[in-house]
Each structure stands twice: as C-alpha cells, then as structure tokens.
C-alpha cells in the first residue's frame, strides 16, 4: 500500500473530453475529476487496479482542495469555457457515497461549490450499491438543486454483468444483482438517473460468451439504467487479471467484440450506450490486429458522441482481421478458453 505523504496533497487527476448528454440527446464537454481518496473499500475485483491509486492518509480537507483546484484549473487552462454547458464526473477510484472515503460534510461542500458554474448540466458519481441510502441521496440531490437547478444527477454502478455467477466467481465483485437493483431503484426514486457499467470479457469468460453476457446483461438492466457504459476489460498493473494475462490465460477483448456488443446492446436497449476504449490498440488493452485498432477506436468514440450506429457499421469488415475474429467466434465452443 502506498504511504507517501506528498501524495495526499497532490492534485486530483482531471481531463476534459466530449460526452453524450443523454437527457438532451447531444454531446457536450465533460470534465472528469479523479479524486484521491483512501480508495475502494472492497478492492478485491480481479481486474481492478484502481485502488493502487488510493492514498490511505488523505484528509477530507485535502479532498476538498483537490476538487476545487481541479475545477478552477480546468477553466483557467481553458479546457472549459464559462459560457458553455458541461458535465462533471466525480470519480474516486472507489465509492462517492462511502463515508469512509468522502464524509457527508465533504460531499455537501463539494456540491455547494458547484453553484458558481452555470454551465454545469449534469454530474455523475460512482458507487458500490452497499453505500447507497435514500437519506444520502436526498441530501445530495437537494444540495445540488440548491446549487444549480438545471443540473441532472446520475449515479453509476459497476455492475459488470447481470450474471451473478460470473460476478461472484470470476470477477469477485462482492454484491449481487439484487443488491444492485435495490440500490438503483433508490437512486431512481430520489430523482437521479442510473448508469450501469458492464464489463466486456471478465476473466475466465471466452470471447463469444463475453459478448453474449454483455448483451444479456444490458437487456437485464434496460428498465433501470438510463446509460449503459461498456467497459472493455484491460490489463491493469498488479491485478489478478495481469497474472492471468502473463500466463497466456487472458486476452483483452477484440475491438470487434466491442463493436458487436455495442451494436447489439444499442439495438436491444435503445439506451444511451457508451464505451470508452481505454488502452485500445495496446497489448494490455482491447485490440485487434494492430493495423485497424486506431480506426475502430475512432469509430467507437464517434458513436459515443452521436449514438449513431452507422459509425460502427461502416468500420466493420474494414480490416481482414475481422475474418479471423469471425472464425474465432465461430469456433469459440471448441476453444475452452484457449487463446489461439
């Protein structure tokens, strides 16, 4: 565990990109702020290395200053403009509603700070379901409304899959679909929307089974979720998945699998579907043959902003490696998780 004093005062990581504002069906700027908190309390998911970024000794004041300086820096550096609409993602490599990471008071203060940003249209936070309570939600939403009445709130859950077996045995997520559902319904009841992260290709799940699982999971959550975010499993440092990967027992998903899954999920759910292809084209990230990775990644990113399936349809078959992938999917039953 990292115990570096200097780390705690180090600023949060933040960046700005474009994202799809589902509520208004258009793409706007999105500021992502990754706060360094003490990190996820569970930290046992097989593919997750985010908690390595955590700082156990961080104080609540430090978190607040991380937040405020990230916000002001984004404007100062011209990444965001005062007049433009934007959304804000507050991520902690853990749970926004875990009081051990962020106390009630800190959460309220953070939301209060948002009153000075007129362009803010939506905030997105992440949490494990066990930290969700109506009380906390109501408090947050009313604080947010007070600060900025035009601002939507979305709560994201890393459900990964609707399949309890895969989640429990292969991912080791530590909560059930039922746990997620109850928490998500509370979120809905309090007036916020729900975003669901699905994991494409958890460890020990084959390429085709992974696609099927993602699609099935999307269908299972379409009544609850407003946005479905498909995370393409990558190989993070210091994780169990990394060990598997080094032993030739895990390969990140093909980008073709992502394309296939996104298309089918979009058609089946008609929700906002996004997929940030983190690390696409690298050995540790989702990849195809190496030649087409950039192209396919770009297509996925274009789709994210437009939700227009044509971007994905027209990239399909653009590279001969799709033949290999097709064959691979066809013989998936014969592979028994081999990576030929």
């Amino acid at each position: 565990m990292k115990q570096m004093d200097g780390m705690s005062v180090r600023a949060a990581v933040f960046w700005v990109n474009r994202d799809f504002l589902m509520e208004e069906n258009r793409a706007i700027d999105a500021l992502t702020v990754i706060l360094r908190t003490r990190g996820c309390r569970w930290r046992a998911c097989r593919m997750c290395g985010f908690w390595h970024e955590s700082v156990p000794s961080v104080t609540q004041d430090e978190i607040l200053s991380q937040f405020s300086s990230a916000l002001s820096a984004a404007f100062k550096k011209g990444l965001l403009r005062r007049d433009d609409d934007f959304m804000l993602k507050i991520f902690t490599s853990g749970s926004f509603f875990d009081d051990a990471e962020i106390t009630d008071i800190t959460r309220m203060r953070m939301l209060d700070m948002l009153s000075e940003f007129d362009g803010l249209r939506k905030i997105i936070v992440e949490t494990r379901p066990e930290f969700v309570s109506e009380e906390k939600l109501n408090a947050c939403i009313s604080a947010l409304n007070e600060a900025n009445e035009r601002c939507f709130m979305e709560v994201a859950f890393g459900l990964e899959t609707a399949d309890d077996f895969i989640r429990a045995k292969y991912i080791n997520k530590g909560f059930s679909f039922e746990d997620f559902r109850n928490a998500a319904l509370k979120v809905r009841k309090c007036g916020a929307s729900v975003k669901v992260y699905l994991l494409l290709k958890p460890p020990f799940v084959s390429e085709r089974a992974a696609i099927e699982d993602a699609v099935r999971s999307a269908i299972a959550v379409r009544e609850i979720a407003s946005t479905i975010s498909l995370n393409l499993c990558n190989v993070q440092k210091g994780t169990f998945v990394e060990r598997l990967w080094r032993s030739f027992m895990f390969r990140p998903p093909w980008l073709w699998s992502a394309v296939e899954a996104i298309i089918r999920i979009k058609i089946e759910t008609e929700k906002a579907v996004i997929s940030d292809p983190v690390g696409a084209g690298s050995r540790r990230g989702p990849h195809n043959c190496g030649k087409c990775d950039k192209n396919v990644k770009d297509a996925i990113e274009k789709f994210n902003l437009t939700q227009n399936l044509e971007h994905l349809e027209c990239v399909r078959g653009s590279c001969t490696c799709m033949m290999i992938w097709n064959k691979l999917i066809e013989v998936d039953d014969l592979l028994f998780n081999a990576i030929p």
Partner: protein, 645 residues
C-alpha cells in the same frame, strides 16, 4: 474410467484408440475439424452439456456409471488459477475424455508445455485427453508422444485466415514465399499454379484455401504419427520433428530430464524396431537408462569367469555374429571359460556378452564416426564405473582391448577408480589388427597360466545366456531357478531350455523345428511340455512356457505376475478382468497369470503396463500365449495351446 473409449495400441505414452460416438467409431489420435466437419466436435460438446466451464457436469453424475450412454462423456480440466478449480481425484470419474481448458498457457514456456504429462498422470490411462486449440503440424507429434488423444485444427484454420502457410517443419507468411511453385502438393496446392496465383487471389478466398491447406498438412502429419505409433518408433520421429523449433526441442529435453518416470512407466520393454540413436536426446531415452540400470541391478556376471575383457561394439547385431567379435573370441579361445566379455558402446554404456541379444542391445544403430562427444563419454564412463564398482571383486584382472577414444574412456575410469587395467591395443593400433589380436591372446594366456587357470574351451555360454536373460527380464535369481536342472539346446541365438530329464535325446535340428512350429508333438517322453523357455531374437527376449513359469514363480514370487478373476481366458485378458498386476510389468513383458481360484495358470505378453492393468477397465491387458486349466467339472487337467503369436 471410460466406457466409450478404448486404447488399442500403445507406443510408450502415445496411443491409438477408438472413441465410440453413437454408431460411429472415431480413431484417436483424432483431429476435430473446426470447419465444415464441425459435427464430431459438436457431438462431443453435447456430451459436455456446454462449453462454459461453470457447467461442469455435476459430480454425482460423473461419479455414477451410465452404461446406456451413446455419446462419450467428458469433463473439463481447469488450471489451478481458476476460481472453480479444486484438487480432487480425477481417476474415479466415469468419463470417456477430459478437455484441458486454457490450453494457451502451455505455450508460455517449454516447461509448461511439457506439463501435459502431469495431467496425463492424474487421469485414468483408459480415458482420452483432449488439448484444444494448440495443435499445429510441427507439434502434433510431440503432443501425441505425451499422451494427447484429441486435438483440433483451430490453429491451422486461424493461421490460414491470417495468411500463414503451414508445413510440418514450421510456417511462413504468404507474402514471404516468393513467387515459386508452392512447396506442397495437397489438393489445395495442386489446384494452384504458383504462389503468385495465391497472392493475386481475393483475400477471403485465399484465407479459406490456406486454412484448408493447413488443415490438410495437420491431417497428413497426424497420419504419419499414427503410422509411427503402429510401427513403434514414434520416439525416433519425434526426435526428428522437434528439430524445427527451439521450443519443441526444449520440450523434448525437459520431458527426458524431468519426466523420466512418466515415460519409464509407459515404455515397452522391447520392440521389433531398430532403435535409432542419432541425436543428443537419444542418450536420455528410457530404453537406454532402463538397460543401464538393469545391468547394474539385475545382471550378475558368471561367477566362474575371473578375467574381465572389455571390447568394442560392432555394427552387426548381435555382436558375436560380427567379424570383429569372431576375431576377439578366437584370440581368447583357449581360455574361454575364464574370460568374461563386456562390450562398451554408445548409447547403451556397457553390454555384458550374455545379454547382447536383449532389447535394445541387439536393436540399435548409431552414427559411427570414431568421435565421442563429451556427453556420450560421460554417460558411457558412468556406466562402466558403476559396473566395476558393483562387480570388480569378482574378477582377478581387467583386460581392455579397445582403440582410440574408447580406450581413453577406460583409462579415465581406471585412473579415477584406481583399477589396474591391461591395455592390449597400442596407440593408433586397430583392435582387429593382427598385432593387437596377438597381444590380446598372449596377455590373456600369460595371465591365466600365471593364475593357474587351466585351458578350458567350454564356456558354458548357452546356459549362461538364458540365465542372464531371465535375470535381466524377471529380476535376480530368476535365471538360476529356471536353468537349474535344465538343458539348453539350439543354435545361438535361437536357444531353447528343456527340462534335463528329456532334453538329452534331441538333436539340434529337432530343436530348431520345435521352436519354429511350437506345438509339434513328438514321440517319446519329449514333447512341448518339457520346454521351459526359449529365446525369441525378434524381440530380444526370453519367452517362457507355463512349465517354465511355474519354476520361475518359485524364485520371483509375484514379480511379473497378473492375478485375474475366475474365468477361462480366450486369446486375450482384458484389463477389466485383472484383479492385480505387478507394477514392474511393461508392454511386451512376458507375464505369468493365474486366476484367483488357481484353476487357470498360464503365460502371456503384457499389452499394457502393470499399473495400467490395475487402473484401466478397458483394453487388452495380456495377450495369452498358453495356459493350463484345471477344473473340477471337467475332471481332468488339460493344457490348452492358445496362440503362438
């Protein structure tokens, strides 16, 4: 424990088997085709219920027998890292095959690849092993050699789609092939005029063609492998095949070094083929190590011979039929009774004269250059050293009649061990030269006379040969018991051992006839019943009769013994009928069997190792040669001659 799979033929760990799938019989090693012929695979998969590994068939089902099943039942082997993995006894599952999941991990290193044999060891020998998505034309030989029964053409197809052209010795990208004719004449390549034509083809069309070609090469290679299993020389083929890649060569070396026991338990004790020792790996073969260890552990030099003579090997086998050995023997003829010859050779180390016809001493070939490399020298001198340590006290003198580097080996051993050796070849002198032979004769006779050893030309060689072979085959003490009160007749190496009470009336010609026809009944008190054992030079083994077996059993107890259930066997005894078998038994060993109630007693040849007879429920365990059957209801004892094969 399988029901729908049966091993029909073994060559060490490699097997030819039969997998019954409804009304069809699939021959293993089997390639499951991922292309058009997907139905075999699908049928097998239906037996697994689903390819998703969490739907392993539940334990209760796998633990129960299902005599009605028409489709083979399989189970998935998980790696230790898998969350569902649990350590358990895989041998009591009622399945016909296992599939190894996550097989790509085998490609991480040669050591991982070689670990397939560890899995093979954990599952029943009569169950098939399927290693998916790994077979290529260059590795299918060694996969089979490790005991894999089922593979598929997934990799050849996918590589084909990736424009990779495969051959048995490796692969090349289409773009790098030049524009010459295609170096293959399979049906796909025959229909294509040149590489250029391939290159100009539509990518998709080409992908299918190359995938097909690659699959055909895999199939061709599989057929070769099958042929070599049948002829019993897969090892030689594997040594050849692994040369194409450093990875596979490393796999073979690791198998020889780290998994010796695995192969020792499976290697036949004898085979009809010449053992080719053309590579560095040949030195590490089970046959070589087994021979060397039996020379130390089982062989005893004839006690009456006090003079050790170390001589070189000869290309002709058995050595004594060679010209050079005839010369050596003539040189010591006057004192034959006192001179004990051992032959120094690579890769076997040392071969005592009496067991020169044993497998593989009479069945090997090596490239002879006169040059011995360091490994060979080290191995051969370790064999000689071990022999002398065990037996030096039995000799009064050591004579070395060797030339060149071979003599150097002896000099080193003599220096290390402080042995006195008399070298009868001068530097640069050929062992067969007149001067060297004369010196050999003179030195030997001088020594024998000085020791008071009388001239004696009768070396009792024939009896010693059978005694030594019996010891070599059945363990120490077997030979003395078997040959006690018996007489040897015949022309070397076709010798027959008779009870002495009747053998004296026969001539050599009759003996030769008897050993050819076996069951010929002759007048007088000499019939087949008097034969105790005979040498079968084709296998380099001593075959025993029921009568010989009874004598042997007094000396060796339950060694090489198979206990069967109470039944009168036909030509074969199946593994299912074996109650117990000696662990030492190897394929092609002569074994003694008896039923539990002792009404049946006979001899046969093992078709599987002793441990395999115990662990298997299917397959032929023993090929019956002859047996006696005493049954109360028949009210007489009769002897049945079963087969002469």
């Amino acid at each position: 424990m399988s029901r729908l799979f049966e091993v029909k033929k073994r060559d060490c760990a490699a097997r030819i088997g039969e997998l019954t799938l409804r009304d069809r019989r699939l021959k293993t090693p089997l390639i499951i085709e991922a292309g058009a012929l997907v139905r075999d695979g699908m049928d097998l998969l239906s037996a697994l219920a689903c390819s998703d590994m969490r739907i392993l068939r539940d334990d209760e089902e796998l633990m129960s027998e299902d005599e009605e099943r028409e489709v083979p039942r399989g189970a998935v082997l998980l790696p230790e890292e898998h969350p569902l993995y649990e350590r358990r006894d895989l041998k009591n599952l009622h399945v016909d095959f296992f599939v190894l999941s996550h097989s790509s991990r085998l490609l991480k290193s040669p050591r991982e690849f070689a670990s397939i044999v560890k899995l093979r060891e954990q599952i029943s020998p009569d169950v098939a092993l399927w290693v998916p998505a790994i077979a290529t034309p260059d590795n299918i030989a060694i996969l089979t050699y490790m005991g894999v029964d089922i593979v598929d053409n997934v990799v050849p197809v996918l590589r084909g789609y990736d424009d990779v052209f495969m051959l048995e010795e490796g692969c090349v990208r289409i773009a790098e092939m030049g524009d010459e004719q295609i170096p293959c004449n399979c049906e796909v390549c025959a229909s294509c005029e040149s590489v250029e034509q391939l290159k100009e083809m539509d990518r998709r069309e080409r992908a299918d063609l190359i995938a097909r070609h690659n699959s055909l090469v895999l199939l061709r290679e599989l057929r070769k492998v099958r042929m070599h299993i049948i002829s019993g020389d897969l090892r030689e083929y594997v040594e050849m095949r692994v040369r194409s890649s450093a990875f596979l060569t490393a796999v073979l070396r690791i198998l020889d070094k780290d998994h010796e026991y695995f192969f020792e338990r499976r290697a036949p004790v004898a085979r009809r083929n010449v053992m080719l020792a053309n590579t560095m790996e040949s030195l590490r073969r089970v046959e070589v190590k087994r021979f060397a260890s039996r020379v130390i552990e089982r062989y005893e030099p004839p006690p009456e011979k006090k003079v050790l003579l170390i001589i070189p090997c000869a290309a002709r086998k058995p050595y004594s039929l060679s010209k050079s050995h005839a010369l050596f023997r003539r040189a010591v003829a006057g004192f034959k009774a006192h001179v004990h010859e051992i032959i120094i050779t690579s890769p076997l180390g040392i071969v005592p004269r009496e067991i020169e016809i044993a497998y593989p001493a009479a069945f090997y070939d090596i490239p002879v250059t006169g040059y011995w490399d360091a490994e060979e020298r080290a191995w051969v001198s370790s064999c000689l050293r071990a022999y002398l340590e065990h037996n030096i006290h039995k000799y009064n003198a050591i004579f070395v009649h060797l030339e060149g580097e071979c003599a150097e080996i002896c000099r080193d051993v003599a220096a290390d061990g402080g042995y006195d050796m008399i070298f009868t070849c001068r530097n640069g002198e050929k062992a067969v030269s007149k001067s060297a032979l004369r010196r050999l004769r003179d030195e030997i006779s001088k020594f024998c006379i000085s020791e008071g050893l009388e001239r004696d030309e009768d070396d009792r060689a024939l009896s010693n040969v059978i005694k030594a072979l019996a010891d070599f085959q059945f363990g120490r003490g077997a030979g003395e018991k078997l040959t006690g009160g018996a007489v040897v007749r015949g022309k070397y190496p076709r010798l027959t051992l008779y009870e002495s009470s009747c053998a004296h009336e026969k001539t050599d010609a009759e003996d030769a006839k008897a050993s050819e026809c076996g069951s010929v009944h002759r007048d007088g008190n000499c019939d087949e019943g008097c034969v105790l054992a005979r040498i079968s030079p084709e296998y380099g083994m001593l075959s025993i009769t029921t009568r010989g077996a009874r004598k042997l059993r007094e000396a060796i107890g339950d060694a090489y013994f198979v206990l069967t259930d109470d039944f009168v066997p036909g030509n074969t005894i199946f593994a299912g009928g074996v109650l117990h078998a000696d662990e030492k038994i190897r394929v092609n060993d002569y074994v003694i069997f008896s039923s539990r109630n002792e009404s049946v007693f006979g001899v046969g040849r093992a078709k599987m190792s002793g441990w395999e007879m115990i662990e298997s429920v299917r397959g032929v365990a023993v090929q019956v040669r002859e047996f006696e059957c005493h049954r109360d209801d028949i009210n007489s004892s009769r002897r049945l001659r079963q087969s002469t094969a």
